[in-house]
């Protein structure tokens, strides 16, 4: 039934284009709020997934724009890749929907006119006073609290890895698309110089491989592309370490016996290249951790 109504709505959106975007949120209630806020009759249809935090926007390019839809969603209280919700809108969300928000890095202000209350202002925005000016210091790697510009890239990578562990091609594709979007959304100006250099080197391949996984519906193909993707990810995380330890693992049987690596947040081995068949095959070869 849901499918039918979806198709019915769909049919009325002409000149349609489809785009994947990232929208913060927690639960099923978030999903309905986000979709209701974003949908517009005959103009826009939003389909948000609470697991990937990714939404598919389908809209009539002659009637609306991506940012018009995302602005409505932000005004409903949900931060997304283009807009941050007004604090008042976020505060009005039901408790279960109050997802963890991104923290802003306060600017250094010089007082010029009067004694400015900006610090006070930042407090209102939830900026903890202990926030450090250097941006590359990693924040805890729990799914939400990320001041690291690459945090969402890593998160989506781990989600993709987990999907491959479960041999779920559909889920893997979905996370990989989200990873692709996250890769494209990274602001290079926010990266440290060292990370930036590596990023420039690996970014293109990462984007290509994540797109290929996203388009593939065969889990074996996805695993093929996951090998170089993991290699690039390893280079990246070496220079841009997360606060929590990350484990670089290796399975000698993968890749037709040539062996292959992957990254995991757990030391316990769960092999993404074989899934159930040889779940625990492999070992941790390196622990990547901040000093």
């Amino acid at each position: 039934m849901a499918l039918i109504s979806f198709t019915a709505c769909n049919a009325q959106i002409k000149n349609a284009t489809t785009e994947a975007v990232i929208i913060a949120g927690n639960c099923g209630m978030c999903e309905s709020t986000i979709e209701k806020a974003g949908n517009a009759k005959n103009a826009a249809l939003v389909d948000w997934d609470k697991d990937t935090k990714q939404a598919t926007l389908k809209y009539d390019v002659t009637k609306t724009k991506r940012d018009e839809i995302l602005k409505r969603i932000a005004l409903a209280g949900y931060d997304n890749q283009s807009f941050l919700a007004p604090d008042e809108a976020y505060a009005k969300l039901p408790a279960c929907c109050q997802y963890d928000r991104l923290k802003k890095t306060p600017a250094k202000m010089e007082d010029t006119i009067t004694s400015e209350p900006h610090e006070h202002n930042m407090m209102e925005h939830g900026h903890a006073t202990e926030m450090k000016a250097e941006k590359m210091v990693e924040k805890p790697s729990s799914a939400s609290q990320k001041s690291d510009p690459l945090a969402s890239v890593f998160e989506q990578y781990f989600a993709l890895k987990d999907a491959l562990v479960g041999s779920d091609a559909k889920m893997a594709a979905s996370h990989s698309k989200a990873l692709n979007t996250a890769i494209n959304a990274v602001k290079m100006s926010e990266l440290s110089q060292e990370t930036h250099m590596v990023w420039m080197k690996v970014m293109k391949d990462m984007a290509a491989n994540s797109a290929l996984i996203g388009d593939a519906n065969d889990v074996e193909k996805q695993r093929q592309y996951f090998i170089p993707l993991s290699q690039n990810m390893y280079e990246l995380i070496k220079v841009n370490k997360m606060k929590a330890p990350v484990y670089y693992q290796f399975c000698p049987m993968a890749n037709d016996g040539k062996g292959a690596n992957w990254l995991s947040k757990e030391n316990e081995v769960k092999n993404p290249y074989y899934g159930d068949m040889m779940l625990n095959c492999g070992k941790t070869v390196e622990t990547i951790q901040q000093q």
């Binding site: 602005k71 932000a74 005004l75 890749q81 283009s82 807009f83 941050l84 919700a85 007004p86 604090d87 008042e88 809108a89 802003k104 890095t105 306060p106 600017a107 250094k108 202000m109 010089e110 010029t112 006119i113 009067t114 400015e116 209350p117 900006h118 202002n121 930042m122 209102e124 925005h125 900026h127 941006k135 602001k187 100006s189 926010e190």
Partner: protein, 740 residues
């Protein structure tokens, strides 16, 4: 050598800054439809003009329109002949000619310029006019005047032709209210639990009102609904030079990045004051400072028109966009309830002794939900119990105790002394701002410009003008040619302004010394109020002849005529039982109207009634008229009929002159008595346009000839509707209602 240098210095300072402005008709598409607009040098808004104090401005206006135009330099001290008011300081610039405005720049600050001709300002003829201080200026403020600055020009766009908007307003259209979802009908009132409020409102003969009159399709900042200033980064402070170039919209300014620091108003410096939000009246300017508090974030400066139907945004900074909290919709019935409390039955406003002034108590506040949740609770406040207890300090307190700090005029303080010599003689003038929403008549002391002579003022005289707003709308009153001080409790440091926003029931006092020679316009800057005649002229004499205006008397008559034009209105119901319709031609005081009922068969009859009347009194509830009646109906079975007075009616064949009068009763019912030249008399009660639901209107008529009618109409579009009615002569009918 030194002498030579001395001689040269003034020449260097006397820089002439030259601009060429090409005024052309153009087509603009802001809504998906191509509409006529006017562009200057190919752009809307007009280009920003920059000068430095001490420059000489030389502006060539090349008029390539098919009609006249003029440009007014809003807030500038110019010689009178450069002021740009057609028929007051110059003749309109004729099509395909060039006019040169040349004047010295003797001040600094944020100003703007616009066409003062007809309704051209509504369709694109407005631009920023920025006058920089000289670096050596003693008033140069470090940390303010040296900040990076950006002109911000607020405006609005309607797809309707402004001439049509103007006409529709005079015809009391409710189409704009339908578009804004602000009809405030009986059904909506009942739904909101405000049936009694609506009834009380109509009892006091008020039409539903809004804080603004017109539906706009778009609101614009620098010509765009949304734009971004990505040249700024975290930590930057930016001075925004905001001018409200809207033809009729007040704008709220709020900022997602925290407090707004107000540093100047109407081009004059004020002591910095930090607020959460401010409202900028039509044609006012404010300089505000905002900062970007975090990295990689662009913060929204949100401009919300007072009716809060839509908004415009500009994002300041780069990166992800932090939105400001949108302002919630108005609660119309709360406002209506308060208006009921404050309107006497005779149409005067009653401030319950609160002596309001200086925007300190926003009487619209009652309509703002976020205020209600706090401690104001105006909607439930017992107005009658207040007995003048409420003084300015209390208002201040009321504002301060809510968590949102809103700017008001009481907070503006000039950094320099602005007082006049205490011993100098002062001439007092009083104006009562008057109006009538039902017929869209806006006036001062119940006189429009066409009923007023110029106010003669001796040069150098100090004028103290007290204004009281006895109308239901706020009015931004603008004085040309010079600034006035607003007596706001800051003593010798009263702020200098050239626009005074005065809210309903407020009393404000302004002062200025009439040093500038010439004829200076003083008017409401809501374009459609100005065009309705809410204007005066201060004439400071003796005057030199004005080369651009050889015959001032004749020109003044023309100016008076311009603001009291006739408005045409037409309506016809093409129904199954006949045609039912009317046509009217009206101005401020006069009304020429014809009604007709034309059957399709002789036995249904044909009739027309024509009335020429004049509205009397400020509220215009009374209209005596002379008329002519013509009817023909093929012999009815029972021949002559008796009316309620025992007279034999001549309903079947009548060609009669009449005198009579119409009077608007409470509930907006028109009582009309008419005496025909054959001695017959007719009394009639009638009401049309009873707002039953958002798009549904009821109507009824009953008279002493034992005729009656009742009907229902549904408003489908601006000019089309469906109507069902029953008429005692012609029976039941349904039809298509066409109006213009």
């Amino acid at each position: 050598m030194a002498i030579l240098l001395m001689a040269m210095t003034p020449i260097v300072a006397q820089k002439t800054v030259h601009y060429d402005l090409y005024v052309r008709d153009t087509v603009i598409n802001l809504t998906g439809k191509e509409k006529h607009a006017i562009a200057v040098n190919g752009q809307i808004p007009m280009p920003t003009l920059h000068f430095t104090e001490g420059d000489t401005a030389e502006i060539y206006v090349h008029n390539q329109l098919k009609e006249g135009t003029t440009l007014h330099w809003h807030g500038l001290y110019t010689p009178n002949k450069e002021d740009g008011v057609p028929y007051l300081t110059q003749l309109p610039i004729a099509p395909n000619t060039t006019h040169i405005y040349r004047f010295p720049i003797v001040q600094s600050g944020t100003h703007w310029y616009h066409s003062h001709f007809g309704l051209q300002e509504q369709i694109g003829m407005y631009g920023s006019l920025i006058l920089d201080k000289k670096k050596s200026d003693a008033s140069f403020r470090k940390g303010i005047d040296d900040l990076p600055s950006v002109p911000i020009l607020l405006s609005e766009w309607t797809d309707y032709k402004p001439e049509n908007v103007h006409r529709m307003l005079h015809n009391a259209t409710d189409w704009f209210a339908i578009k804004k979802n602000a009809v405030q009908s009986y059904a909506e009132a009942i739904g909101a639990g405000h049936f009694g409020t609506k009834l009380g409102n109509e009892w006091k003969r008020m039409l539903a009102m809004d804080v603004s009159d017109i539906y706009y399709d778009k609101f614009l900042i620098n010509g765009q609904p949304e734009s971004q200033l990505s040249q700024f980064k975290a930590g930057d402070k930016i001075r925004l030079q905001v001018s409200n170039a809207g033809a009729s919209s007040y704008f709220w300014l709020t900022y997602a990045g925290g407090k707004i620091t107000v540093v100047a108003n109407d081009g004059n410096d004020v002591e910095p004051v930090e607020v959460d939000r401010l409202i900028i009246g039509v044609s006012e300017t404010y300089d505000i400072i905002v900062s970007i508090p975090a990295e990689n974030t662009a913060y929204e400066l949100l401009a919300t028109p007072e009716d809060r139907t839509k908004s415009a945004s500009i994002y300041i900074g780069q990166g992800i966009k932090q939105l400001a909290n949108p302002m919630p919709r108005l609660q119309y019935f709360e406002g209506m309830k308060m208006m009921n409390d404050m309107m006497k039955l005779n149409g005067d406003m009653d401030d319950m002794g609160m002596s309001m002034s200086l925007q300190k108590m926003d009487m619209n506040m009652v309509m703002y939900p976020e205020m209600q949740q706090k401690d104001m609770k105006m909607g439930n406040m017992d107005m009658k119990g207040m007995d003048g207890q409420m003084n300015h300090t209390d208002h201040h307190h009321a504002n301060a105790s809510t968590s949102i700090k809103t700017l008001n005029y009481g907070m503006l303080k000039s950094p320099t002394k602005t007082n006049f010599d205490k011993n100098a003689p002062i001439r007092d003038l009083n104006f009562e701002l008057t109006g009538n929403m039902n017929r869209y008549v806006w006036s001062m002391d119940n006189r429009v410009l066409s009923e007023s002579d110029k106010i003669l003022v001796k040069k150098g005289e100090i004028l103290r003008i007290t204004l009281y707003n006895n109308s239901m709308m706020r009015h931004p009153m603008h004085l040309h040619g010079q600034d006035f001080i607003l007596l706001n409790g800051k003593g010798d440091y009263a702020p200098l302004k050239n626009v005074l926003d005065i809210m309903p029931m407020e009393t404000d006092t302004i002062m200025f010394q009439a040093n500038a020679e010439g004829d200076w316009f003083f008017h409401c800057h809501i374009l459609y109020h100005m065009m309705a005649g809410m204007n005066r002229v201060f004439s400071t004499g003796p005057q030199e002849p004005n080369p651009y205006l050889p015959n001032k008397e004749k020109a003044y008559k023309k100016l008076q005529m311009e603001s009291n034009r006739m408005h045409f209105m037409f309506e016809n119901d093409f129904a199954t039982n006949g045609n039912d319709g009317m046509a009217m031609l009206q101005n401020t005081r006069w009304s020429i109207g014809t009604e007709w009922r034309l059957g399709y068969y002789d036995h249904h009859g044909y009739e027309t009634e024509t009335h020429i009347g004049r509205y009397i009194g400020r509220m215009q509830w009374f209209m005596p008229f002379i008329g002519f009646d013509w009817r023909y109906r093929k012999d009815h079975k029972h021949g002559g009929e008796e009316n309620l007075f025992g007279q034999t009616s001549t309903k079947d064949n009548r060609q009669l002159f009449s005198i009579g009068a119409a009077y608007t009763l409470p509930m907006l019912i028109t009582l009309q008595g008419e005496l025909y030249h054959d001695g017959k008399f007719r009394l009639q009660l009638m009401r049309e346009d009873i707002p039953l639901a958002k798009r549904l209107r009821g109507a009824f008529m009953v008279n002493s000839d034992k005729e009656y009618m009742f009907g229902l109409s549904y408003i489908a579009t601006k000019n089309l509707g469906l109507r069902a009615h029953y008429d005692s002569d012609m029976g039941a009918g349904v039809g298509l209602l066409v109006n213009y």
